[in-house]
Amino acid sequence: MAQLGWLIDLDKCTGCDSCTIACKSENNTRPLTSPVPSKNGRGVLPDHVSYRWLVKQEAGVYPLPRLTFTTSACNHCEHPGCLASCPKADVNDPHNENNAIFKRAEDGIVLINQNVCIGCRNCIHACPYGAPQFNSSTELVEKCTFCIHRLYDGSGIRTDFEPACVTTCVGNALHLVEDFDPTQTGQNAPTGFADPSYTVPSTRFATGSP
């Protein structure tokens, strides 16, 4: 089984959040239109579901501050914590699409079946990377699908398309890896990225040094 994965070249990330919005636009995650759900007009973070997001971290002290950008999404782990925690999934039959969470045998993509999910949120607590997100409207949990609807046509044939986030990455920092090597899991991970030994995320990072 080939495992699809992410390669992120951290020092080519421009911090623009275009991947975040490409994902929202492609997957039509909420909020989609005004007025956005919010508590008042003072800039409260509205209720939202975002499958990809950018972590900005400030460090250092003036005049040598640092600002790092890490684009983040579901890492489609080899041993998904979400799946293991899911009361509606059979860990012994992880590829079964009748699980609320299942991992495709063909390409390792981890998916949440909205028809089966009960919205218990165990997966939200189990995932070390913040990928599953509760939709307060459907009261179910959603997350990144690797844009599976773009990667394959209606007949299951691989298309020439890539996930929306990869397509639009301004800095050419975010890449799709066709055959992720699990021994490279979490390679060059930035500060704050959870220990990859727990779930073996299909993500590695490049420092970008020539």
């Binding site: 020092d11 080519k12 421009t14 911090g15 623009c16 275009s18 975040t20 919005i21 490409a22 929202k24 636009s25 492609e26 997957n27 039509n28 995650t29 909020p31 989609l32 239109t33 005004s34 007025p35 956005v36 919010s38 508590k39 007009g41 800039g43 409260v44 973070l45 509205p46 975002s50 997001w53 972590v55 900005k56 971290q57 400030e58 250092g60 003036y62 501050p65 600002l67 790092t68 590829h95 699409e97 063909e106 909205q114 028809n115 995932c127 990377y129 913040g130 959603e142 699908t145 844009c147 599976i148 609807h149 394959y152 020439d160 397509t167 301004v170 800095g171 050419n172 704050g192 970008g208």
Partner: protein, 1026 residues
């Protein structure tokens, strides 16, 4: 929807968006949400497959006929876009893969942009990159709070009370009102002061952004005949940078003012070819433009081993990925640049051979595309009043003209100790200080290079260092690195250095670092851009109007005209002028228009038509003056606003004419400063032509992704009772009975009739045919249809270089001495300007020093990558990224004041003592002593509050008004108290010269929300990594 085989987890095509079956109305949020989520999860459930995402499913993947190429207008980068349109609904925006902004080279520096020869039906699997603002354009189109019908004010201005009227009524009433206010447009405003021009000038057209200016100029300049045909925004943007660059490339035979004009207004680095770049107050990963192209190239530049430096008081995204951050004191960029220059000159590290060349032939023999004025003699003269000024010395006055290769107006150089004409010898002496007998007077004369050198050495580097806050070692280190890369180093600016009262000299000083190494037109050096193929002439001459009444006289903002007995003899009454004049303000003066109307100087304005204009929001210190002026109908009797939303200008208008958004428009917005050559073409991607829907397959009665070239093509936008701005102006022109529109209105350059101008397609087709005609040298046989099908016409990947040179060259003189400026007196101080790059302190318009020392912090603004300036608060996705903007305070200053992130603080200035309230963000990423507030939040209109239309309260989104807008507290000028501080040569308003107090008010709930998952900022929502 049958499934061919078992596919694990893949949704088959269950997803069908049915666009607004309600005949296109976006009347309510509920309807808009139908646009966004017409296919529901229940449809998918019915198909019996796993549903993988939330209540609104992804759209089905595209085929070739779903793709329409156009141009983005979410910011001014004018990127190519690839619109995915399903059944007439725009569902996704990506970058146009033919467009050089959106595709360039791959990681291995091989061409990645698709060749222009690729047929569109083979290109649909190729996508270009598009930034988050561009992608959020879907929400600009389907904004549920767009204005849907023409509105007429009911009750006083700004009362929020409107009635809907028909377009016919709107055009007719507006035309009648204009004719009542200005019954005799051909008569002089004041026969005693003929330089004011005709009464047609009492109507102004003020397009904040003028992307369709060929049309608006045709209507208002060539049809109506006003000098105020384009009161546009550039002076709040980068006009001083443009103007300084124009003076560096000055052509005495140019036509921008009576002294000439610049050959180019912009320089940018050839990033992919460069090895070392210093960005002074430029933020190519965020606010500089075109961001996508620049940022992409800059990251590839890093991949190729390049080094770049960010000089900025604030550590922005560009600094985050830079090799070095140089936190500089705002407004002192020239001190750093002149200090660097002094080191380079002291070391002899400048390119002597390049600078010694006197003319084109000499440069060519050295393999240099450009040459400079460095060896030309500049004399110090005395005017009739005994005031000293400087200018170039001519060959005739030096007594050397008439010799072979010496014309009367030639420049004079010294070669081997002898005066020579600049075409007489290939090289001149760089260091010259002499005197030349002119008309019997010994006139002190120095080479332009000597003047530059003396200016650089007028202060020591330790003095420069104490001014700019950059240590001597850092200053010298930058200089040493800069000269260590041959022609492959660039010093580049954007708004940071120039939006100061001394901005003109900051731009000169920094730009001439490039001159010292002669990097112009070299691969890896400075480029003026590849330009494009013109849309203005060829088949149709866009400005040729039979019956053009002509336009004449002084503009309301007094740009491009000299305040002097020669140009304003009856208006000139000695210095200081009643309001300042801007003879070199070739891009106009946006901030002066409203105060000038208030003061009635040089005349009053009767009618103002605005388009894409956010005056009181965007312009420093204008809001109160705007409200005072516009509230008084005797000051401004008619205000008409063309706008798709109820913005800060529209709220005060007498009539609001709702135009379509950029996804429902034609235009040729150009491509900014790429090394590639191309012309983008913008077209509607949704709506109807002659009743047939775009993006609906022809079998269903639609047009698919084409526009039939020979049809009438009357256009209906997605909101059917709005109109494209071109059609609005044609409607107004017809109601006014102006020439230039209607049957047989389109003429070629010889005046031969070539067509009608009755709708926006007539115009778009004329532009298309012109572009095709002009592009055939590169693309033989290209047609209007092909340009339409590919979103423009572009050169081929790899066309940008010719060996070590850029293919598209400036190839002319670079002037280190700004001769026209040095011959000009300031309209306020009466002093001659200096033509020499230098560090100048900040001043008011009367030359008095800016001294607000009781206000301890220097306020700066910035734009993040998440927003354009005045319009993107209507995009929920962009507001989600950062729901409000904070008051950024350095950690050191915050500690002194006991301020913590989230505290409510009041920021006040000498011009706004009550101040504005915002929430603090304490950061290490800011130079102490500086306060930073971004420039795209804090709207008080734009659907952030309700209005009454036909007695019904409209829906709104209070979140659109979140945050604060710092322009409101910006410093006014001490002499002209109803306008911001200004830069007198380039006519910029100052953005970064306001000093403020910050006072802690306390902590209130809810906590500061700086964005989704931004845990590094101690935000209220820090669930990033769990």
């Amino acid at each position: 929807m049958k499934r061919e085989k078992e596919i694990h987890g893949i949704n088959p095509s269950v997803n069908r968006r049915t666009f607004v079956k309600v005949s296109g109305t976006l009347a309510s949020a509920a309807v808009a949400s139908r646009v966004f989520n017409p296919s529901t999860s229940s449809e998918a459930a019915a198909a019996g497959v796993p549903i993988l995402t939330g209540e609104s499913l992804p759209d089905e993947i595209e085929s070739a006929e779903d793709i329409i190429y156009s141009v983005c207008q979410m910011c001014h980068s004018r990127c190519g876009i690839r619109a995915k349109v399903k059944e007439g609904v725009l569902v996704k925006l990506d970058g146009n893969p033919y467009h050089p902004n959106n595709r360039d080279v791959d990681e291995n520096n091989n061409p990645d942009r698709i060749s222009y020869e690729t047929p569109p039906d083979q290109a649909f699997t190729e996508l270009g990159r598009l930034c988050l603002k561009g992608q959020a354009g879907v929400q600009t189109l389907y904004d549920p709070f767009r204005i849907q019908h023409p509105l007429k004010r009911v009750g006083p201005r700004n009362s929020g009370q409107w009635e809907t009227i028909s377009w016919e009524q709107a055009f007719s009433e507006i035309a009648t009102r204009i004719q009542q206010l200005i019954p005799d447009p051909g008569a002089l405003i004041d026969p005693a002061i003929p330089e004011l021009g005709k009464k047609s000038n009492l109507l102004g057209f003020a397009p904040g952004r003028s992307v369709e200016k060929e049309m608006s100029e045709r209507i208002w300049k060539n049809g109506w005949g006003t000098a105020n045909y384009g009161l546009s925004h550039t002076s709040v943007c980068e006009s001083t940078r443009h103007v300084a660059n124009e003076l560096i490339t000055w052509d005495p035979a140019g036509s921008k003012n009576s002294m000439g004009g610049g050959r180019t207004e912009g320089w940018q680095p050839d990033t992919l070819g460069a090895e070392y770049i210093i960005f002074f107050g430029a933020n190519p990963l965020e606010a500089d433009f075109p961001m996508v192209g620049m940022a992409r190239n800059l990251m590839q530049f890093k991949r190729n081993g390049g080094t770049y430096v960010t000089v900025d008081p604030r550590f922005n995204n560009t600094a985050a990925q830079a090799d070095q951050w140089v936190p500089i004191t705002p407004g002192t960029d020239a001190a750093l640049a002149m200090g660097m220059m002094s080191w380079i000159l002291e070391q002899g590290a400048h390119q002597t051979g390049y600078l010694e060349n006197t003319n084109r032939a000499a440069a060519a023999s050295d393999g240099e595309p450009t040459w400079t004025d460095s060896t030309y003699l500049v004399g110090t003269f005395s005017d009739g009043e005994g005031k000293e000024y400087q200018r170039y010395i001519t060959a005739s006055e030096a007594g050397i003209s008439g010799r072979p290769n010496v014309a009367a107006d030639d420049y004079v150089v010294v070669a081997g100790g002898v005066l020579k004409g600049h075409n007489e010898v290939p090289h001149g002496d760089l260091e010259v200080a002499t005197s030349v007998n002119i008309g019997g007077v010994d006139t002190p004369a120095k080479s332009a290079f000597t003047l530059l050198r003396e200016s650089a050495f007028s202060m020591s580097r330790s003095e420069y260092s104490s001014v700019c806050g950059v240590s001597v070692s850092v200053m010298e280190g930058l200089a040493e690195e800069f000269v260590g890369h041959g022609k492959k180093a660039v010093a580049m600016t954007y708004r940071g250095p120039i939006k100061h009262t001394n901005g003109f000299y900051n731009q000169l000083a920094i730009q001439h670092l490039n001159t010292l190494i002669g990097n112009y037109d070299w691969k890896g050096g400075c480029t003026q851009g590849g330009g494009g193929w013109s849309q203005k002439s060829g088949v149709v001459s866009v400005s040729n109007v039979a019956g053009d009444p002509g336009h004449e006289g002084v503009r309301i903002d007094r740009a491009k005209t000299f305040y002097s007995p020669a140009e304003a003899p009856n208006l000139f009454s000695g210095y200081p002028a009643q309001r300042p004049w801007f003879p070199f303000g070739t891009h106009g003066n946006y901030q002066e228009v409203i105060p000038s109307i208030l003061d009635g100087y040089p005349y009053s304005i009767k009618a103002l038509i605005t388009y894409w204009n956010a005056w009181p929001y965007s312009v420093p210190a204008l809001r109160a003056v705007w409200e005072q002026t516009v509230a008084d109908e005797s000051k401004l009797p008619l205000l008409v606003t063309i706008s798709p939303v109820m913005g800060e200008v529209a709220a005060w208008a007498d009539y609001v004419l709702p135009d379509s958004v950029y996804l429902e428009k034609f235009g040729v917005p150009g491509i900014p400063w790429r090394v590639n050559k191309g012309t983008s073409f913008q077209r509607p991607v949704v709506g109807k032509f002659d009743g047939k829907s775009i993006g609906v397959k022809p079998a269903d009665g639609g047009l698919g992704n084409t526009i039939p070239i020979n049809a009438t093509n009357n256009y209906t936008p997605a909101l059917p009772n709005t109109k494209a701005v071109l059609d609005i102006q044609i409607g107004l022109a017809k109601a006014l009975g102006l020439p230039g529109v209607g049957a047989n209105a389109l003429l070629d350059g010889d005046g031969t009739i070539v067509g009608d101008l009755d709708n926006n397609w007539d115009w778009a087709r004329a532009l298309l045919e012109n572009i095709a005609e002009n592009a055939r040298g590169k693309h033989p046989g290209i047609t209007a249809e092909e340009i339409l099908s590919k979103g423009g016409v572009f050169d081929f990947p790899t066309d940008e270089y010719d060996g070590d040179y850029l293919s598209y060259q400036y190839s002319n003189i670079i002037r280190t001495f700004a001769d026209p400026v040095a011959r000009t007196r300031d309209s306020v101080t009466a002093a001659y300007y200096s033509g020499v790059p230098q560090y100048k302190a900040l001043t008011h318009s009367d030359g008095s020093p800016l001294d607000d020392r009781e206000y301890p912090f220097n306020l700066i603004t910035y734009k993040t990558v998440h927003h354009g300036q005045a319009r993107t608060n209507v995009n929920p996705w962009l507001m989600l990224i950062m729901p409000e903007n904070p008051v950024e305070i350095s950690a050191a200053d915050a500690a002194d004041m006991g301020i913590e992130t989230g505290d409510v603080v009041t920021v006040s200035s000498p011009s706004h003592r009550d101040g504005i309230e915002g929430r603090a963000l304490v950061t290490q990423r800011l130079k102490p002593g500086v306060i930073a507030i971004s420039h795209h939040y804090g709207h008080w209109e734009q659907s952030s509050r309700p209005m009454e239309i036909d007695g019904v309260t409209t829906e709104h989104d209070p979140g659109r008004g979140a945050g604060i807008q710092p322009t409101q507290i910006m410093r006014t000028d001490d002499r002209y108290r109803n306008v911001s501080l200004q830069e007198p040569v380039g006519a910029s308003c100052s953005f970064f010269d306001t000093w403020v107090k910050v006072k802690k008010k306390g902590m209130v709930e809810p906590p500061l929300a700086t964005g989704i998952f931004s845990d590094g900022f101690e935000s209220g929502d820090s669930s990033a990594w769990s």
